[in-house]
Amino acid sequence: MLTVTDLHAGYGLSEVLVGTSLEVKPGTIVALIGANGAGKTTTMRAISGTITPTRGEVRLGGSRVDGLGAARIARLGLAHSPEGRKVFGPLSTEDNLLLGGFRWLPHFFGFRRQARQALERVYDLFPRLAERRAQLAGTLSGGEQQMLAIGRALMAQPKIMLLDEPSMGLAPVIVQEVFRTIRRLKAEGMTMLLVEQFASAALAVADHVYVMERGRVAVSGTPEDLRRDPRVLAAYLG
């Protein structure tokens, strides 16, 4: 589904990614873990086109997408729920969700009906969002904003979803709820690339895990392999 080869990217003169490669197979969850500053978020941003990679390849379903720009990559069916959630604060919850389905706007005559169905599905997944549908997204709690960010990505009915730190700044109870949702989506066949600080939580849902260190993949394997790998711990508490 998604193949990343020798990806280099950074901000200005600082090159954060120095040759990251990874693969996400359809219907699986791949987790990207590693210490802060290892380049996880930069990897996500380079894949989705928020930043343009300086070298390397990103392939989505076989065709190259690197350098296309975020908007076009998104319209090809890659939904990226960014770090820090980035909901549209001045818009209502429901508007945020509807914008998540923006890529379908030119496609359907029955756009409204289609959007309505997708909306029902998200509300079914996150009943809390249904309660808050008219509330401005900026006034939602952190947990609700995270659900909104995931829901918004789902509205695109994407081929693959990139979830960046869905647990950031959330209370443990909420984190567990978020991860329950991720498991449910996996059961429905969603393909996902997940960046997570909480290694334990990530290992629990992933089919395959990459551990990043200083801009490249240091270790990869199944969660079972990694639980026994001391290097994984080293990546966290040095």
Binding site: G37, E165, A199, S200, L203, R227, L233
Partner: protein, 656 residues
């Protein structure tokens, strides 16, 4: 050194000698009038360049300053019999004051709003000049006879020489100003206003001062304008002249005295250019060919993008085609200005002089002036004896953004002479804490004390003055300045010579000492050989070191390092650690925000762990690392992967 003197100063002297000698050869009063106008516009444009070039703001009020200065001088001369020198001073001071008054509110704004405010001011002035008939004679115009200069009546030639002399004085003063701390401050605040405040230089006050100074020059030029033409009308000083003045600065080249004078030349001579069909056709034809060649070359070499290459070609083509089609080019004056400006702004953003300067620099390699030997480090960064007292104390500090509690009642004490680590997961409030302590954000609640004295929150300047210096996670260097200048501009207590003396060129000694001090700090971080490199051209690691050197120039009591190792390669991380250790040896207290736990364990005496805006643990690194709360914060709630948390202490002993 000598070569530099001859080439750079020689060219300036030659310019003024040639300008001054023209009336000896050319006798036509018309040509003399143009030359006088050139000199006057030169002064106006040098003043305008302060805001447009150095401060980087579009200033549409310079024409109003010209007008106000002209009327002040005119009224003072006709009604009160004031002589030329006093009239010049009066106009200059009046417009400096008006400029400062306008700048105080307007310069709190950026970009478009500032342009709007200055545009409105120009309109307001035109209205006032028109309507205050008892003073200005309104739309009928004000008749002025040129007063005597020290008892001598000035003929056109003498008056021209007076204007040239004043232009030369302004040129010298401006050069002195821009090669002093003021020039550096202007440069710095354009690159990063936040860092300019954080090093205690003060963005706002320099902006206001710069704007007022430029306005004053406009006013003084206005006095000359009044005495040159002898007749003033309010509708002269309106929008169109504003655009023409901007044209002069942009066409000539910003941030350049030569650019201003060349721009003035073009602006003064333009009407003549347009009045002759032949000259104009030749001019526009040449412009088109130049744009075509440059554009095609840029496209072939893939150096410029399509728009920047093609737009000037289209614009100059329109210009050339128009020059053959239009029967009366005078009528199309504004369109011609517009097309020329458009081509230059898009195709030659640095202006003619910027372009020429780059070419000349390639042609004559002039060595920059020699650097002094570095000052002894002990003089620049005296060692403080750590007394173990409490340096920084936070009591219940909080900061909310909307409903988000980024900081939620943080208590923290930092002892003098220690390195205090600050860690926590992403979004835990570390950066907010640093931003509150350094004065970028005002706290929503709680107290902030440095050596027991309460700090006024929300002011970078106040924090800087109190002795707090910081680096930034996303570098905030002054990219266009050299490494040396980056450090010099931050030097604390080094700049004492008052402005009038600086204008007279009496700041040189201080400048020399400042260079020596800055060089010592560059050597301290291992950048002694990069003193002349532009900050933006340094490697990323060197940029991080430079930011530390700049912070050290503040001789801080407390140095906050916001992720100093972020984005660094392994060898640079080691260098960075070495620098931090050496800073500690000089007795400077540090707060270190860091992601790499190994760095923190190695350097810090005490570590504070933040999570969700609260302190969840504090103590020596080894103890903090074993704290279950910390492990949870980093590894997550004990869910299926709890095995990791349980086995955590074992492999995590001793740092590399």
């Amino acid at each position: 050194m000598l070569k530099r003197l001859i080439l750079v100063r020689g060219a300036e002297i030659a310019l003024f000698i040639v300008l001054g000698a023209v009336p000896l050869v050319v006798q036509s009063p018309y040509a003399l009038g143009l030359l006088t106008l050139l000199a006057i516009y030169g002064i106006v444009l040098i003043g305008l360049d302060v805001t447009v070039g150095y401060l980087g703001q579009i200033n549409l009020a310079q024409v109003a300053m010209l007008g106000l200065g002209a009327y002040v001088a005119g009224i003072a001369a006709t009604r009160y019999g004031v002589g030329i020198p006093l009239a010049l001073v009066l106009s200059g001071l009046f417009c400096t004051a008006i400029g400062a008054l306008l700048a105080l509110p307007a310069l709190r704004l950026e970009g478009p709003q500032f342009a709007l405010a200055t545009l409105s001011f120009t309109a307001l002035c035109a209205t006032a000049l028109n309507e205050l008939e008892w003073l200005t004679n309104g739309a009928q115009g004000l008749q002025i006879t040129r007063p005597l200069l020290l008892g001598h009546a000035l003929d056109a030639r003498a008056f021209f020489w007076l204007c040239i002399a004043i232009l030369a004085i302004v040129w010298l003063a401006m050069r002195n100003l821009m090669s002093s701390q003021w020039g550096r401050a202007f440069e710095a605040l354009r690159d990063s206003p936040i860092a300019t405040d954080a090093i205690g230089v003060g963005t706002y006050r320099h902006r206001v001062a710069g704007f007022a100074f430029g306005s004053g020059l406009g006013g003084a030029a206005g006095a000359l304008y009044a005495f040159n033409f002898g007749y003033l009308q309010p509708q002269t000083f309106v929008y169109e002249l504003t655009v023409i003045l901007l044209l002069g600065v942009v066409l000539g080249g910003r941030k350049s005295l030569w650019g201003a004078v060349i721009g003035a030349m073009l602006v003064a001579l333009l009407p003549n250019l347009l009045s002759s069909h032949l000259v104009f056709r030749a001019f526009s034809g040449i412009a088109f060919v130049l744009a075509l060649v440059a554009g095609v070359r840029g496209l072939v070499r893939r150096k410029t993008d399509a728009f920047r290459a093609l737009a000037p070609i289209v614009a100059t083509f329109t210009l050339a085609a128009g020059s053959f089609l239009a029967s009366n080019t005078e009528d199309w004056r504004k369109a011609i200005f517009a097309l020329m400006l458009f081509s230059v702004v898009v195709g030659l953003p640095e202006g003619l002089m910027g372009f020429a300067a780059a070419a000349l620099a390639r042609l004559f390699r002039v060595a920059p002036p020699a650097l002094p030997p570095a000052a002894p480090l002990d003089a620049v960064l005296p060692v403080r004896a750590p007394d173990g007292s409490v340096l920084l104390r936070l009591d219940g500090l909080s900061r909310h953004f909307g409903g988000v509690r980024a900081l939620d009642g943080v208590d923290l004490t930092v002892k003098a002479g220690t390195i205090h680590g600050l860690i926590g997961p992403n979004g835990s409030g570390k950066s907010t804490l640093v931003n509150v302590v350094s004065g970028l954000y005002a706290p929503s609640g709680g107290e902030l004390r440095l050596r027991g004295a309460a700090l006024r929150g929300g002011s970078l300047m106040a924090a800087a003055k109190a002795g707090i210096a910081r680096t930034f996670q996303n570098l905030q260097l002054f990219g266009g300045m050299t490494a040396l200048d980056n450090v010099m501009v931050a030097l604390r207590g080094a700049w004492r010579v008052p402005l009038p003396l600086v204008l007279l060129g009496l700041g040189r000694l201080e400048e020399w000492r400042g260079r020596a001090a800055a060089l010592a700090l560059l050597e301290f971080v291992g950048l002694g050989s990069e003193a002349r490199t532009r900050a933006a051209d340094l490697t990323y690691g060197a940029q991080r070191f430079l930011e530390i050197a700049r912070a050290l120039a503040r001789r801080p009591e407390l140095l906050i390092l916001d992720e100093p190792a972020a984005g660094l390669a392994q060898p640079d991380i080691l260098r960075q650690l070495e620098i931090i250790r050496r800073i500690r040896q000089r007795g400077i207290t540090m707060v270190l925000i860091e992601h790499h736990m190994d760095v923190v364990s190695e350097l810090c005496e005490t570590v504070t762990v933040l999570d969700e805006g609260k302190v969840i643990a504090e103590g020596p690194p080894a103890q903090v690392k074993r704290d279950p709360k910390v492990i949870t914060a980093y590894l997550g709630a004990p869910e299926p992967g709890a095995a990791i948390a349980a086995s955590a202490p074992a492999p995590v002993t001793g740092a590399p």
